[in-house]
């Protein structure tokens, strides 16, 4: 049961092979037995999950089941869930029981899915290794000495380990795609504005976007269909119809024009990763696609621009955590300033403080033009690189990460950690959609192929990923961790 994709589970539920309750119980049991070693969940919502599974079974018995009815999933702990602890991986919100549901959570509930709980993450989604969580690091199920990637590391690890068939993550600079790559699963960051951000705890508002993490492109298509769509509560969420993302999955790829950005195959790219990506491109050629090299000339400015824009937005977004209306409050504050300073010093972890400080500094008087305005100008140039490239090709392909998952504790220096996101970060600045698809291994550690498209071309990306998965079985590989402990 724990091996199957959502599409397969949906068929089994429909065929009556097992009930949603049985499936849910099975997975909750696995979480109990296995997650002690992974630490992929912050909160497991046993009672709510079983109640939702029962409701789904009842709906099915009444002939009212939809496509996703009764299918289990997990939510990154960045989504507000009513009456359930919502921490964003931070001590600041360790006591925060959300009084409301995020729009994505509402939509997934309405679709009949069963949430098993809230997954671990880098604090406030700031990190690329999931080592920045107040609730401890998450381990990579393929190799317990490796990181699962971040910031949606708990979601990726839980799916890879067979604890849940799919999970919802968020991606601000690669936080869906990089952990998907590190854990050998399929992840999609949609176009900015495709999915509502309401109720998704903000890190960097102009970059954050929620997306599905699952075992196949088909599953991502199913989930995106349920998550996406206009939301009157989010001004940045676009009013645009949601297509049936499964409809185009089987479209043949003959004639597909693939661009390989020269800058994504340069210095610092691990040779095993490069080999796996080049092999994947060959598969595409065998499917009838043509390949050419393109250039994204401002690629190397993406990380510097990101580390101005994202911390600036974050420094402001995180000001609401002041110990007054919710969240951590220090004991016995002497006065107001002491309340603020100690509550925030105690509530936030190291990386969060670092980014708040950077953002505060770069926005402050005398620095704004040199940093923030400059970064926004560069952001336009970066977006233009992609728009120009998509004049020539349908999709871009390259590695999702320059290396496979690295060892826990290996990257002590923040800048070297930031450089991990070299291939993912520009995508958020441009607002385009991107996927990571399993494409091989370096030893025991998975490698992800990144596929990028122009704004709102999710259906095409899912088609391109699905066709690859029809021709390969990288996405069907499961870590020994999931099997031997079963």
């Amino acid at each position: 049961m724990h091996d199957k994709t959502l599409a397969e589970l949906a068929r089994s539920l429909e065929a009556g092979e097992f009930s949603s309750r049985e499936l849910t119980q099975h997975l909750l049991g696995r979480i109990d037995r296995l997650d002690g070693k992974l630490n992929s969940f912050i909160t497991v919502t046993y009672d709510q999950a079983l109640a939702a599974a029962d409701a789904a079974d009842k709906a099915r018995a009444a002939g009212e089941a939809d496509l996703l009815t009764g299918l289990p999933l997990a939510l990154k702990d960045i989504f507000c869930t009513q009456d359930i602890k919502t921490t964003a991986g931070s001590r600041m919100l360790d006591n925060f029981i959300s009084p409301y549901d995020a729009t994505v959570v509402e939509k997934l509930k309405a679709a009949g899915t069963v949430s098993l709980g809230k997954t671990n993450m880098d604090e406030f989604a700031m990190g690329s290794s999931n080592e920045n969580s107040h609730y401890g690091a998450v381990k990579n199920p393929w190799d317990l000495t490796a990181v699962p990637g971040g910031s949606s590391g708990g979601s990726a690890a839980a799916v890879a380990a067979g604890l849940v068939p799919a999970a919802i993550g968020t991606d601000t600079g690669g936080s869906i795609r990089q952990p998907a790559a590190f854990c050998g699963i399929t992840g999609l960051k949609p176009t900015y504005g495709r999915v509502s951000r309401y109720g998704m705890i903000a890190y960097a508002s102009s970059l954050d976007q929620a997306g599905p993490m699952a075992r196949s492109a088909e599953d991502c298509a199913l989930l995106l269909g349920a998550m996406a769509g206009h939301d009157l509560r989010d001004s940045t969420c676009v009013a645009r119809g949601v297509p049936d993302y499964t409809e185009e999955l089987d479209t043949p790829l003959a004639g597909l024009k693939i661009g390989l950005p020269r800058e994504y195959f340069g210095d610092g790219l691990d040779p095993q990763v490069e080999a796996a990506v080049r092999d994947a491109i060959k598969v595409y050629e065998s499917l009838g696609a043509s390949v050419r090299e393109v250039s994204l000339p401002h690629t190397h400015y993406a990380i510097p621009a990101y580390y101005v824009i994202a911390p600036a937005e974050a420094s402001s977004n995180l000001s609401r955590y002041d110990g007054v209306r919710f969240g951590h409050r220090c004991a016995n504050p002497a006065d107001l300033i002491d309340l603020y300073k100690r509550s925030r010093a105690e509530g936030f972890g190291d990386e969060v403080k670092r980014r708040i400080l950077i953002g505060t500094h770069t926005l402050s008087e005398g620095f704004f033009d040199a940093y923030y305005k400059k970064a926004q100008q560069v952001r336009r140039l970066i977006r233009q690189d992609f728009l120009d490239a998509f004049e020539e090709v349908d999709v871009l392909m390259g590695p999702a990460s320059p290396t496979p998952a690295f060892d826990l504790g290996a990257k002590k220096d923040p800048v070297s950690m930031y450089l991990q996101d070299i291939y993912t970060i520009a995508i958020n600045l441009a607002g385009i959609p991107g996927m990571s698809v399993p494409a091989g291994f370096a030893g025991s550690r998975p490698i992800g192929l990144q596929i990028l498209g122009s704004h709102f071309t999710e259906a095409r990306l899912l088609n391109v990923a699905h066709q690859f998965q029809q021709a390969t079985d990288w996405h069907r590989q499961r870590p020994a961790f999931a099997e031997e402990n079963a």
Partner: protein, 95 residues
């Protein structure tokens, strides 16, 4: 642009983050290296390029002026650290 200890202390104060001197010293070092990386932007000519605040060229949608929210004070204040008579309490603010 080099970063001084005072810059970090100033940012920490603006951001209301309590830092010990040791922490501040560590951040001077960390932030200094981050800013060094960021300074690469200065080498790029962006003359005449309009800043881009949002990845999509869309405009603000307007909401009809309707009251849609009802009183949920007791629900919202369940997660509040200190309330009395419906008010959030903070150490006395001197004006």
């Amino acid at each position: 642009m080099a970063l001084e200890h005072a810059d970090v202390q100033r940012a920490a104060h603006l951001a209301r983050l309590g830092l010990t001197d040791d922490e501040a010293a560590r951040y001077v070092d960390d932030l200094g290296r981050i800013l060094e990386m960021v300074d690469m932007l200065q080498g790029l000519d962006t003359e005449g390029v309009a800043p881009l605040a949002h990845p999509l060229d869309v405009t603000q949608r307007l909401r009809a002026d309707e009251v849609t929210e009802s009183d949920q004070r007791s629900c919202f204040q369940r997660c509040a650290p200190a309330v009395e008579n419906g008010l959030y309490l903070v150490p006395r603010v001197v004006e």
